[in-house]
Symmetry: C2
Subunit: 318 residues, 2 copies
């Protein structure tokens, strides 16, 4: 059991309110005054979640987008955010961060409500924390509601952001046009709130893909106490991805094990397919079926009808 | 203009929602459904807000208490909290922190709803962030509502926590009994939610004293566009404080310039005195009048009928 898992297990003894959803979901859901409030908090740390030389505009964008992604996965419309901000030693960095923050708040229609500015000691990794709250007007899907036989769907090509990070690190080379697309997906994720709201009433379970399709699908399976099958041949790849890394098994394993996609992963009965497709088309999005949920437990990978051994690493573990 | 003030001024251009209260208050106030939600976020950083060898139980307590203090100042009942937690390299530290977190959540009746655990690079100062949300059933006092002629009141003896910190740092010596009381006020502040709720309908303005009475009273004056007079002879001192530092002018200036009191500071018309006293007595608390609000601007200090020059430092500035 990792340190994080052990710590969260201990936290659960304190977080006994039903609104906390056992700390097993992407967000808390609090009923107040007839409204259903959805709350999520994500932090990013320099040197862990972003690189010291990442553009500050993109750091701010990503901080907002990762939180909005959790709201989208719960079918919640963003209302507001609060920010913990460590002042930089460089005022130009602060100004650039604010530019990205303003962009992101405007794009996702989320109001900055407050927060706290803090000083951090010199040479300390800077840590940014954001809380986003949203309102759901319908049911708030959990990770744990999947049922045997459900199909699994994702809402965007997988692996672009992870490949973008590899390109930035110099581990992969890409042609300029692909490079821009991939790096853009890494630096400026675009969670789709309208899609989350449209799908929420139709799904058995929903979450966002943030740490990698394989690890996040596993988590959905564990939360639902079921097994999950991913058919790697069905995992959608973008043109930029395929042009850079190809579309064979190894490329697909890379895509499904890379993080930062910030699209939706959902489970729904096969009979819901027409409604899902129509709801997604209504907001201009294509859904891709990538597998299914079944009785049992664990993650199974298929490729062209054959079982594929699980890679050592299913995604990003904190 | 300090770096923090400049940054917050720039943030205001983004935080245009009325719920943000111009980032000039202790908390955001969001109307949702039929409820009035109060939101606050405070962060603490190792080496800045707490010392590396502070007991982890007390670090957790203080993180919760400082946020609850903001809710109390807005007359809001605590509902829930979300936490950003950097895992320690020492699991015993994590366990001790959880113990204090559980204590504080139980004491202040606040539900832990979620959050994020993060890894920080080695040798980095650890940064904890907490968001607390509460519900107000009546009006939510701001800092900016004071009127000329209002009396200023505080809800507890001032300066104990600041003196406790000085004792811990070895700058002051105290007899054992006083030492325990003073250090206790520093490490385990006890904001009074019931008091805040009882006073909220009666005040023109209210906030908590967190950075020091003088600086916080100044902020109330600036927010209300009025001047503030503090009569240092009226500033209440505890027995432990007076036994350690005396009760003459210098001791009173120390008390009023020290931070971490986490009591309430409120402005109300003189005619409200009987109601204020009765409301406070109803929850077992004594209020102390420490000054008044008047036309004009700036902070004026009095002691035994004489004006006292302002000290160079009015309190803790972030």
């Amino acid at each position: 059991m990792s340190r994080e898992v052990a710590f969260i297990a201990a936290l659960r003894a304190i977080a006994t309110s039903p609104a906390a959803r056992g700390l097993a979901d992407d967000a808390a859901v609090l009923e107040i005054g007839g409204a259903r409030l959805v709350l999520t908090m994500d932090a990013i740390v320099e040197g862990v979640h972003f690189l010291p030389d990442d553009p500050p505009q993109d750091v701010a964008w990503k901080l907002v987008a990762t939180n909005v992604s959790d709201l989208a996965a719960k079918g919640a419309r963003p209302l507001g955010a609060l920010l913990t901000y460590p002042l930089a030693s460089d005022p130009a960095w602060d100004a650039a961060f604010l530019e990205g923050l303003g962009d992101a708040c405007a794009t996702f229609a989320i109001a900055l409500l407050g927060g706290d500015t803090v000083r951090q000691p010199e040479h300390s990794a800077r840590s940014f924390s954001l809380v986003a709250l949203g309102e759901a007007t319908g049911p708030v899907p959990s990770r744990s509601g999947a049922r045997p036989g459900d199909h699994l769907w994702v809402s965007a090509p997988i692996g672009d952001a992870g490949l973008g990070l590899s390109v930035l690190r110099g581990e992969q080379r890409a042609k300029e046009r692909s490079r821009m697309a991939l790096v853009g997906r890494y630096r400026r994720p675009t969670p789709d709130v309208a899609l989350g709201i449209a799908l929420a009433p139709l799904v058995s379970a929903m979450m966002d893909v943030s740490d990698g399709l394989l690890i996040d699908a596993s988590r959905l399976g564990v939360a639902s106490d079921l097994g999950v099958v991913i058919d790697l041949a069905l995992v959608p790849l973008s043109q930029a991805f395929a042009a850079t890394l190809g579309d064979e098994l190894n490329a697909r394993l890379f895509a499904a094990g890379a993080g930062d996609d910030y699209c939706l992963l959902l489970a729904a009965p096969p009979s819901s397919k027409p409604m899902l497709k129509a709801a997604a088309a209504g907001v201009g999005v294509t859904l891709y079926r990538v597998g299914r949920v079944m009785a049992g437990r664990g993650l199974t990978l298929l490729y062209q009808g054959e079982a594929v051994p699980l890679p050592a690493k299913l995604g990003y573990e904190h």
